[in-house]
Structure formats: C-alpha cells, structure tokens
C-alpha cells in the first residue's frame, strides 16, 4: 500500500483551500521533506503546480483566482509606494512591521492613486479592505495579530517577485527599443 506523509490529509486540505503553508507551521517540515512527493501528487491528482521555497509552500493552477490576485497586487503596490513616499523602507516594514488597520486607512486616504482606489471594490474603503484582509488572512498572506493589527507573512514575496519581474521586463524592453 502507498505510504503517505504524516498529516497528509490536513496538508492537502490547506493547499486546496488556496492557503500558503508557512515555514513556522508544523506542517511545513513535512511538506519540505516530501517536496518531490507533493510535486508529483498535485500534478497527478489535480494537474496543479506545487511550489516550495525556504519560507512557504503553495499550489497554483491554470484556473487562477485572477481578481483576488490583482486586488492583492494593487494593495501591495500602493502600500509599498506609500511607505516609500513616507520615507520608510517598505521591505523592512513588510518583513518586520506591525500594521494597524487605521494606519492602512490613512495611507490609502492620502494616496495619490485616488481613482484606482475608488474604482476597486476590494480597496475602495475601510470596510471593503477588511474583507480583503479576511481573505488574505484565510490564505496566510497576512496574519491577524489582534482586532486592530496584523503582520504580513513571507507569502508577500510572491507579489514582490512579480513586481521585480515586471520591472526587469520593462527595463529590458526599454533597452532593446533604444
């Protein structure tokens, strides 16, 4: 009979619910140890791609939740931009910072990306953003620390890598067109 890793059912459940399993999660070691098994398991069982880094693991599929991903990307983009505008090192803030919901409200209220925020249903106001935070919390992209504060988990790196790649492609495109 085929041997499954310990906590297999729980691990699969987490991934299929779109969650990131983070390095400090008790399931992470199991996942990391059985990386090859899970690559093959998700590929053969569901046709999903399994990704694991030093900080987190998650699965992705062709049938992606694009709207959510775009909303989260816009959130991180504005957050980074506004933190930088306020003279902060945004990477340090993402990595180590505690965020208060009211602080995020202030940053978004004073952002010059007014139109973009106003037309985004997940970001347009404080209560809409609360819903987005709940979804991000469910997926372990942020961690609620209290009713007023949250931290950002290493899963943010997926979005930061996206921004880096976009910049690289843009710069490449610019230099080839020159």
């Amino acid at each position: 009979m085929l041997e499954y890793p310990a906590n297999h059912q729980e691990i699969v459940e987490q991934f299929l619910n779109g969650r990131f399993i983070l390095h400090d999660d008790k399931l992470f070691d199991e996942v990391k140890t059985n990386e090859n098994f899970y690559i093959s398991f998700f590929k053969r069982s569901f046709g999903y791609q399994f990704e694991v880094t030093a900080d987190f693991a998650y699965v992705i599929s062709d049938e992606s939740n694009e709207n959510l991903s775009r909303d989260i990307s816009v959130f991180f983009a504005i957050l980074c931009y506004e933190l930088d505008k306020n003279g902060k090192n945004f990477l340090e803030e993402l990595e180590y910072g505690y965020f208060e919901y009211s602080q995020i409200d202030d940053l978004f209220a004073n952002s010059s990306y007014t139109d973009l925020i106003a037309t985004n249903n997940k970001l347009k106001d404080s209560s809409a953003r609360k819903n987005l935070f709940n979804e991000m919390n469910r997926r372990n992209i942020i961690a609620k620390e209290s009713d007023d504060t949250f931290t950002i988990t290493p899963a943010y790196k997926v979005f930061i890598d996206f921004a880096k790649e976009l910049a690289t492609n843009k710069i490449k495109g610019e230099s080839t067109s020159n």
């Binding site: 699969v12 459940e13 991934f15 299929l16 619910n17 779109g18 569901f46 999903y48 998650y58 699965v59 992705i60 599929s61 062709d62 049938e63 992606s64 939740n65 694009e66 959510l68 991903s69 775009r70 989260i72 990307s73 816009v74 991180f76 983009a77 504005i78 980074c80 931009y81 930088d84 505008k85 003279g87 945004f90 990477l91 004073n110 010059s112 990306y113 007014t114 139109d115 973009l116 997926r139 997926v158 979005f159 930061i160 890598d161 996206f162 921004a163 880096k164 790649e165 976009l166 910049a167 690289t168 843009k170 710069i171 610019e174 230099s175 020159n178």
Partner: protein
C-alpha cells in the same frame, strides 16, 4: 454638409486605437507629419478632416483642441502645463469678482451673467489644476521608476526642473495663505458669496449665489487635496528619488495599468475533496440546484379534508328504498359505516336531519331504553324511532 453627431462618435469608437497613436505622435512631435498620417490612418484621412478631428498646418496635421482634450481626458494622459497657463485664471477670476462687487446694486441682467461666468472660470481653473497634478504625478513617477536607468545626476536635474518650473509655482497658486494665490481669492469670493446667497433681494440671483457658494466649497475641498499631493509627494521629489528599487519600478508600472499585466496565480479553492465522505451528497445538492423541477402546488389543508356536501336527495332515496326502517338512527349509522367505514359526527347529524323531511313519517316506538351509537368524536345515545312508510 455637417456629419451626424452619432456618425462622428461611431467613427471615433471604431478608430480609437489609430487616433490614440496619432495623439501620442502629436504629443511627442508637436505635429502629425503627413507621411505618418498616411501610414497610420491612410484609409480614414478624409473623414478625419471632414469631421474636423484634424486640421491642416501647411502640409501636416494637428488635432483640433476639442478632440485633443477629449482623447487626453479619456486616456488620462495629461501633459503638465506651465503655471503661467493656470495663472491666467487668477486674473479672469479676480476681474469678474471685482466687477460683481462693484456692480452689485446695478443691472441684474449683467450681474447674473457675471456670476455664471465666474462659476465657469472657477470650474475651468480647477479642472486645469487637477489635470496638471495628474500629469505631474505621472512625470515624477517616471523619474522615480527610472525604467530608462538614467544616471542619478541626470535624475536630479530632471526632478529639479519639474520642481522649479512646475511644482513650486503650482503650489504657490494653491497656497491659501499666500495673498496673491488663486486659492486665497477663492476663499475671499466664498465669503462674499455666502453673505449674498442669504441676503440678496433678487430671488434668482440669490439662487445663483447659492449654487456658486456650493461650487466654491467643493472646489476648495478639491484644491486642498491637490495641495496635499503637491506637498507630500511632488515637492519632496528630490528626496524620494535618492533611493531606487526594482520593486517600486515594477509597482509603478503595474499601477499605471493594473489590468495590463497577469498577476501571480492564486489557487481558486475547490469545493470538496474527491474522497470526502460528503462528496456524494454535496455533489447531488450542487447539481440539484440546476435541475428544473415541476411546479408544486400546495392546497390549503382544510380543502383536502372533506368539504362533505350532504346529498340529501341521494340519501332520502336510499331511505325510502330501505323502508320500512326499524331503527332510524341505527340506519343512519350503518349507512355511513358502509360508505366511509367511520361514522363522522358531522355527517351523522346531516343524515339524521332526514327525519324532519315532510314525506318521512317517523314513529316513536315507546321503548325507554336508549341505544348507543359511536361516532369518530363521541358516543351518542338515541331513542328508537321507526319509519314504516311514506308520509
């Protein structure tokens, strides 16, 4: 003959991409060369002139300002204007205001026109400021993103130029504390209009002042926001461009048009696992919501229970055919029992009513002993009555 407005709008819609390209060219070159127009829009050149979208400048072309503004507005590609262009509103707004104050007791017709014009000028001023801030934000974000990878020194030169030539003067125009600023003038005009909207004798003019007052209030709010953007984001540009980050470059590009890029794939959660205990029922339930069921009609419960209608003729005939009847009440009970198995009290009393029919002749036998009849609800005791013949 002038073309139908709908025809022009449809033309703009169908050829928008080409028009956008032409607009970009005019923005960078200041003009659209005839060779370029031929390459991009050769097939629609005649309509572009016929609909007055383009006009000729010697052998070349340029957009009519109305269409240029329209495209600029639709794609939010505002080119920052030199403050002198905005500053002109300082003069027009001040003059109109001065004339209104001087002629407040004069001809009401001309006063009405001036108040209307003042509102128009204030709106135009605000729109220009708003467009300019958007344009400046775009330009300064380009420097911050630095996709072109220009040297730090060059970045500082460009940023300084924006700050000195555009941002600082714009800030001066919006500085409410500066006595010569437009924002300060608007503040004074707001106070004047506020008194007139409450006290002016002519009702129509009072209403006009009222409208102007609310316009100024909302525009002052808008100007305050613009001023905030200038002080927090545009004036500190030099400081902001000291640091550079690939991540911010990416984000600035992304925020320019978030729909343009494919963002990181996130799994859409599945409904249930294939091996879950609930999968059968969940799947059934899921699919059942799409199956079309026949309409179900629910009748009132009482309607379902017998609304028994006593067929007097039928039972009377039966009674007459059964004559002579030795014991009428027992006959009633038996008749119901044969037909319905149980003897319902209501039916029983209906049937008993036959005894009062004119052509029925009941006879009391004189027997003292009563007999019991059990119905569905009770047990009833009756004397013995016989019916021998027709009355």
């Amino acid at each position: 003959m002038r073309a139908e407005p709908r025809t022009i709008l449809r033309f703009l819609l169908e050829n928008f991409e080409s028009l956008r390209d032409l607009y970009e060219i005019q923005l960078s070159d200041g003009i659209v060369k005839k060779e370029i127009l031929k390459t991009i829009c050769g097939n629609i050149q005649s309509q572009l002139l016929e609909y007055k979208i383009l006009r000729t400048i010697d052998d070349d072309f340029e957009f009519h300002s109305v269409y240029q503004n329209l495209i600029e507005f639709i794609i939010s590609e505002f080119k920052p204007l030199l403050p002198e262009t905005i500053e002109k509103y300082n003069s027009s707004i001040s003059k109109l205001y001065q004339k209104i104050v001087e002629g407040i007791d004069g001809d009401t017709q001309i006063l009405k026109l001036r108040v209307t014009e003042l509102g128009t000028e204030i709106k135009a001023f605000f729109e220009l400021v708003e467009r300019n801030t958007i344009g400046l934000l775009k330009e300064t974000r380009v420097i911050k993103a630095n996709v072109e990878k220009i040297e730090y020194r060059e970045k500082i030169i460009r940023a300084s130029r924006w700050i000195e030539e555009y941002i600082v003067p714009l800030n001066r125009i919006l500085d409410v504390n500066h006595s010569e600023s437009v924002a300060n003038k608007l503040h004074a005009i707001g106070q004047f209009v506020n008194t007139k909207r409450l006290s002016f004798a002519d009702e129509q003019l009072r209403l006009q002042f009222e409208q102007l007052y609310h316009l100024i209030i909302s525009i002052n709010d808008g100007l305050l926001k613009q001023s905030k953007i200038i002080t927090t984001e545009l004036l500190p540009l030099i400081d902001r461009i000291r640091t550079e980050s690939m991540i911010l470059t990416g984000w600035i590009e992304f925020l320019d048009n978030p729909e343009k890029y494919a963002t990181p794939a996130l799994l859409r959660p599945v409904r249930d696992f294939a091996y879950s205990d609930n999968i059968f029922l969940n799947t059934k339930e899921f699919f059942e919501q799409f199956t079309k069921e026949d309409a179900v009609y629910l009748d009132d419960e009482r309607a379902e229970k017998d609304k028994w209608i006593f067929n007097k003729k039928f039972y009377k005939n039966k009674l007459q055919s059964d004559l002579p009847v030795n014991d009428f009440f027992v006959w009633c009970a038996q008749t119901l029992a044969e037909e319905y198995k149980t003897i319902e009290l209501a039916k029983f009393f209906e049937l008993v009513g036959l005894v009062f029919e004119k052509d029925i002749d009941p006879q009391f036998t004189g027997e003292v002993e009563l007999q019991e009849i059990k119905t569905d609800k009770s047990t009833i005791r009756f004397p013995k009555i016989t019916i021998n013949k027709h009355a």
